[in-house]
């Protein structure tokens, strides 16, 4: 009985023999993954019917911890890999779980085109404002003036507002939460997983080791407190009004939830037409 008590209820989705994970203390990835596992569990998603695709980076390692068909691909290419996989296996649920640098810098072109096609997949992006794995360099999401190892005088680049990019590119479901909002994040992941077409959830997540300690939030707790003080829930807001700035409000919530034919549906129709 004692052994049973030590098992985590979500072990069934994990490759327990790969734990402990590589993430730093205070990192939000464990929370993001936990929310995802509970979302899977509550939706009763059969593990054999789920594929996870990741790119490179701290978030990219999520694929390796999940006990499903999991693909840890090249930097930025998780979405096109997942595109091929989903078209070959239309009945499987395909989820891309990756970071902001992977999905929006090196993989930015793939993101906008998959959203444009309304490719049937869920993209979960953990945004920690920097390249954590490589030591905390400037990312396309780094807020103006923030310090990173490649912006030692403060960032002079305007960052992407990921939800705005997703919505403008054609995503049918767009939401943003932080790892502080665990229940809302989990519920949002469930909605995204249930959505037909290209669904996107941005997860703001603390990276105290590489980002926080250079930006006056040296611990995970500091960053969570910052989220608590600055987060404002505004469902349905135009995501173009939800830019992230240092010291400003962090607008979270579900921004987009619309219906549009998916690429997979269109391909099925096309095949029927061609075979007549």
């Amino acid at each position: 009985m004692e052994i049973e008590a030590k098992q985590h209820p979500m072990d069934k989705y994990l490759r327990a023999d790969r734990i402990p994970h590589i993430w730093c203390p205070g990192c939000g990835l464990g929370t993001a993954l936990n929310c995802f596992l509970y979302a899977l569990d509550e939706l009763k998603i059969e593990p054999d019917n789920l594929a996870i695709v990741s790119g490179i980076g701290c978030t990219g390692r999520i694929a390796g911890y999940l006990n499903v068909d999991s693909y840890h691909t090249t930097h930025g290419r998780a979405i096109p890999f997942a595109t091929g996989l989903k078209l070959a296996k239309p009945d499987m649920k395909v989820v891309v779980f990756s970071g902001d640098g992977d999905l929006f810098a090196i993989g930015g072109n793939h993101f906008i085109h998959a959203a444009r096609r309304n490719m049937d997949m869920t993209v979960l992006c953990v945004n920690n404002y920097n390249y954590g794995m490589t030591g905390g360099q400037l990312a396309p999401t780094t807020p103006l003036e923030a310090r990173t190892t490649t912006s030692p005088y403060g960032n002079v680049e305007h960052p992407f507002n990921l939800c705005h990019v997703a919505a403008a590119s054609g995503a049918v479901y767009v939401a943003r939460w932080t790892t502080l909002h665990v229940r809302r994040l989990k519920e949002s992941m469930k909605e995204a997983l249930n959505k037909k077409g290209f669904s996107f959830v941005e997860i703001l997540s603390p990276c105290p080791t590489a980002y926080g300690r250079r930006n006056r939030s040296p611990t995970g707790l500091d960053m969570m407190k910052y989220y608590q003080e600055h987060s404002v829930i505004k469902h349905g807001i135009d995501p173009s009004e939800a830019d992230i700035e240092i010291g400003g409000d962090i607008i979270v919530g579900k921004f987009i939830d619309i219906e549009k034919p998916t690429y997979n549906e269109e391909v099925e129709k096309l095949i029927r037409k061609a075979r007549k």
């Binding site: 068909d69 290419r77 096109p80 091929g84 070959a88 793939h110 391909v267």
Partner: protein, 378 residues
Amino acid sequence: MEIKFYSGNIAAAEGAMAAGCRFFAGYPITPSSEIAEHMSRRLPQVGGVFVQMEDELASMAAILGASWGGLKAMTATSGPGFSLMQENIGLGAMTETPCVIVNVQRAGPSTGMPTLVGQGDVMQSRWGSHGDYETIVLSPSSPQECFDLAIKAFNLAEEYRVPTILLMDESTAHMYEKVVISPPEKIKIVNRKKPRVTSEKYLPFKPGRNMVPPMACAGEGYRVHVTGLTHDERGYPQTTDPEIQEKLVRRLCDKIRKNEAKIRDMELHYMEDAELALVSFGISARSSKAAVNHARKKGYKVGLIRLKTIWPFPEPYFENIADDVDKFLVVEINYGQLKYEVERNVGKGKVYHLPKFGGSVHTPEEIYSRIKEVYHGD
């Protein structure tokens, strides 16, 4: 049996479908675009999926994803796109993903001469991605061979779980000729080996026959983890152990190198008593053959080794033939790529070269005049 009048590009597309290809992802590029166009029309008719991606990085990633989804998958491109694909060709090699890449060569480097022939991607098709790995590279000389070798490329990709490259050239791609198509039941098809053990006992990267592991695809219940990181037989990342790195990389290379004799495919023409052997491939081999035929009429003991498999290079064959043949003349549309491989393998044999830089093919006349020079030379 059917007889068609096909260009090399169309023949390659039809050959791929005959081999069972049901997924194509690509990005338009001259001189390969007809393959994508043909696939966009034909694949849906056989229940397959065509998708035009946003670039060649995505095209290559998508065919890997489709292959793990259980489909036979292909892309087609030319030099500039082939350069972009190298990243995920490396992932395909590391994760042992069967797939076929058609590279219709044009003259390079860079944008070069988009509409005109080149053969400058011989080396890139071997080791264009970083790190140690091997691919299989086939080179057709006619539309018929574009069809036949497209089938063979899929069969080898499936057999050895390796990205396989059909290295065409612009001239062969745009040439129209008769193509004889055997009935489907006469076409040999190879499919990837599936695991025979339960998922509990399955080690996804434990080698089986020919050093190739059986492959469980997505949704088959094996819950495989696939990574471009150095991995053990479970597929788990092991990024700090040089012994695991050696074991993996040695096998990735050796499954091709040590099976070279089985993969080898070449045409030998007048080689029985040749004192001078031309070595060529693709369109250059056709001009070479015409030149050899003419030279034979003039009494020269000349032969032709036409490589259909360029990589793995048939090293043992060249080591042996060098006992009987004194001189080799490599004919290719580049400034010396295959030439180095011939030099490396023929011992004391003398190797001569007849390069072209792209934009035109060798004429039989210029090859014949080089044959005379080499034959009578030192």
